[in-house]
Amino acid sequence: MNCNEIRERMPDVAAGFSELTVDEGKHLESCGACAEQLQAMRSTMTVLDEWQVPEPTPYFDVRLQARLREEMAKPQAGWLHWFRRPVLAAALTVILGVGVGLFFARGKISNHGQEATIVEQPGTAVSDLQALENNHDMYSDFEMLDDLDVQQDVVANP
């Protein structure tokens, strides 16, 4: 038995929760410091006994029963209670956001593709304009051919 070993036991012995063993008793007889420390701790415990607490109020049980009844009356948590978990809720929000984003992005892509392939009915003003725009290069060539014809006429009739 050494001083450290008996010091660990001192709170229990000083509080009266356990008795000294024979070895501990022998150590205290031979070690004045430990004996003094134990005596001081016993005195401290006696002082600490003076700190008392108030009796529970008569309303404690009544209020507890009321709170328990409220708790029992609450509906059993269904699958929606998972949404109350913050991490899960945040994860689901992100997944939902990404999903909605992807849906609209794909919709735009497909709309863009549809716009490119729209063909107006022939004979309408819009279709004529589209035809002019699409065949702009070809019509330019026609104009050059017209110029060539004029030159040939000049050569034929000097």
């Binding site: 660990e8 229990d12 701790m41 600490l48 700190w51 529970p56 404690f60 209020r63 709170r67």
Partner: protein
């Protein structure tokens, strides 16, 4: 009226006596888990006083102590379905209580009123009016006794949080080292050392009252 002892006195319709010996609190809690409300009532009655006194010594306010003690039992009730009897029931109970008390102390550390002693007004924290428990004591003697109690209380409250929890559980709840260690999630030797240091500090601080 004050209570010094924390001896439980359960009184409910539930009778713990069964063939083969008295069931442990963990076994009673397992009955509560499967819907036996009288088993739950029994545990409430058994631990209501220890819980209130533990909370009172942790939060310094009688009304808050009762609220928090109720909250402990509500949490036990809510968690009954997930209860596993792997540890002692009281370890589980005090772990819930410790978490609540620590959180409450942190949330309200700026709200605490100064401790004042007056013969004419009731105790601001306990709400109790000054009583003369001993007919032989004069009002002045009662006043001195109360001042002394408040001083002792303030010394315990001045301890670091873990030391204070350990002292309250050891000295006032009469829990053993192993159980305190489990509640505080420390090793048993670390708990012994924590308690020794706490009592040494109190010995120094309370010298004048010895």
């Amino acid at each position: 009226m004050l209570m010094a002892a924390t001896t439980p006195q359960p009184s409910s319709a539930f009778s713990p006596a069964v063939v083969g010996g008295e069931p442990s609190d963990a076994e009673i809690m397992l009955r509560a888990k499967v819907g036996d409300s009288s088993a739950f009532d029994y545990l409430v009655q058994k631990y209501r006083r220890p819980m209130i006194s533990f909370m009172y010594r942790m939060v310094r306010n009688a009304a808050a102590a009762e609220d928090l003690a109720q909250e402990v039992f509500l949490r036990v009730y809510r968690s009954r379905a997930s209860y596993e009897a792997s540890a002692k029931f009281t370890t589980w109970l005090y772990r819930i209580a410790t978490n609540l008390a620590v959180n409450h102390a942190r949330d309200t550390r700026h709200e605490r009123p100064e401790v004042q002693v007056s013969l004419d007004e009731p105790d601001q924290e306990s709400g109790a009016t000054l009583e003369l428990p001993d007919g032989n004591l004069t009002a002045e003697q009662v006043m001195v006794r109360r001042e002394r109690m408040l001083a002792i209380r303030s010394k315990v409250e001045a301890l670091p949080e873990q030391q204070r929890l350990a002292v309250v559980m050891h000295k006032y709840q009469q829990m053993d080292y192993k159980q305190i260690a489990e509640v505080l999630k420390k090793s048993e030797s670390a708990t012994k050392s924590l308690l020794f240091r706490a009592y040494e500090t109190l010995r120094e601080q309370l010298k004048e009252f010895v």
